[in-house]
Symmetry: none
DNA sequence: TATTTCGTGCAACAAATGTTTCATGGCCGA
DNA sequence: TCGGCCATGAAACATTTGTTGCACGAAATA
């Protein structure tokens, strides 16, 4: 039986806890229960809140093998670092060719993408949807691989707001549209590394025009996220494969459309029904029966 | 002009960023890109890593409306506090009013889609990829909302097999292409309920021509799955929202492209590199900068 | 061109931080 | 009961922190 994982400073703490003096136990439990505050706030601050002496924190750190509170805090900070760049299922890298290798690749990819979806922040999407709801007009821009996301978003939004949604560059060169952005309108730009010049130009034009800029990107530091009113993040690199994953971006786009639709209330619903009956009448779809 | 959502200090930062002096922009971008370190490490530490003056951080904070760096950091710290995620885990569907309803909708949707991905059968994807690998030519068809999936697949496959991949209907009416299907070629049709007549027609033409038919659909009984050599299933209706989910279809498309690429071996890799250098030379992308 | 404004780095400053020392008080063994 | 031990809190310590005043230089203004 191996040690119960020395990896985490928190587990070291829990292990050593019972053999510590009473006051140090108290402080130790406090740290374990509030490890986020432990990494961000100051020692004296914590002491005040825990009702203990500041020195107790230093002593605690030394008692479990650190040189001082600073070092313990640093360990906790590293343990909490989000950019842990998920060491996904391990395999798949140096995988030798074999009959199941392809299946394994698919499985890994799907798992990794599934894991990435819940990490997408929901709040910004809801806020962005509100902006879309209030926008007089909605522009959508995405290039190269992101074009598919842009078109999906365009398609879904047009189902219930046909006249107010438009892809950038459909009715002529992009530059024509860039000058048409107005305050009160919303511009959605989708992109991830490597970023295309075209998408950055759209974002800048949107920002300068005073329109609301919504960026769907893989990083807060993406150039099209600069000056954006809303940034919706997804993980493009999280999944194995030769190409960044667009699953997250698609999921965001669909959520955005769904919330915007829900904000539209009865009017949006009426509009959608109208569109659907029209499509049915044109017999675009195969009749459902069977 | 209305305030663009004061929700996150990071969004305030991004909004103000473009109108800031150059050095402050640098520092601001650094903070946005390393917000975790910004909350945990000291100002001087960050300054050293960013290659900037410590004072720049204080000035940045003041420039975007805070009394100083301490206050900005405190705001960032609160924004990152993990407890934000917990209150929603208990999903209450009946909660209609309130600003959190939208967030709950997004969270539910993302969770549902994440749950759907691992249920996608991997084996058929790997087999279909082998067919693609052997195909002399690859046709892709998808209409309405599925067009986005078709275009993504087309884009990714063309990265390493440019001359052999083509969207149905790009160079004239669909019917022209339907007569061009040949044995030894592969045709991918994407569709889910309600099925468009166009996609069914492509599938039938493919089947009659003797080409390999790959259907990406939501059901085995989908009309375009009839007579298909490979059927790749995904769950379109699994997630809440007014519109069926395409996340699964996108994930399948990307996996398909990834495995096909992997089967292509060195030749595909060379081809991809060649394409990439060509794109870089045309300065399509923003240079990564340092 | 002369003048002002503004952005920027440097260095000194006061406040706050983590640590250490010291005095106190309770506990157990002689 | 006495003497040593250890846990504990308070205060003093050296460092480090965030901040601010100042000087220099570039860009804008007249």
């Amino acid at each position: 039986m191996a040690e119960p994982a020395k990896s985490s400073p928190l587990s070291e703490l829990r292990i050593a806890l019972p053999s510590l003096p009473m006051r140090l136990q108290e402080v130790g439990r406090f740290v374990a229960a509030n490890d986020y505050d432990a990494t961000t706030r100051s020692m004296r601050d914590l002491a005040a809140e825990a009702g203990a002496d500041p020195a107790a924190f230093t002593r605690l750190a030394k008692a479990i093998g650190y040189s001082g509170w600073d070092e313990l805090r640093a360990a906790l900070t590293e343990a909490r670092r989000p950019s842990q760049t998920s060491p996904f299922s391990g395999r798949a890298r140096g995988r030798r060719p074999g009959p199941n290798a392809d299946v394994a690749l698919v499985t890994d990819k799907l798992e990794a993408e599934a894991a990435g979806l819940p990490r997408i922040p929901a709040q910004p999407i809801a806020e962005a949807a509100r902006s879309l709801h209030e926008a007089k007009r909605i522009w959508i821009a995405g290039y190269r691989s992101c074009r598919s996301v842009a078109e999906l978003l365009n398609y879904e939004l047009r189902l219930f707001r046909p006249e107010q949604v438009q892809l950038v560059g459909v009715s002529g060169p992009d530059d024509l549209d860039l000058g048409a952005f107005r305050p009160g309108e919303a511009v959605i730009v989708i992109g991830f590394l490597p970023y295309t010049h075209a998408s950055v130009r759209v974002a800048q034009a949107a920002h300068h025009s005073g329109a609301t800029l919504i960026a769907i990107a893989d990083s807060l530091s993406a150039p099209m996220a600069e000056g954006a009113d809303h940034v919706l993040l997804f993980e493009a690199a999280s999944s194995p494969g030769f190409f960044p994953s667009l699953t997250g971006a698609i999921a965001i786009a669909q959520s955005l459309a769904a919330v915007t639709f829900s904000l539209g209330g009865m009017a949006a619903k009426k509009r959608l029904e109208h569109t659907e009956t029209r499509l049915t009448a044109a017999s675009i779809y195969v009749s459902e029966k069977g």
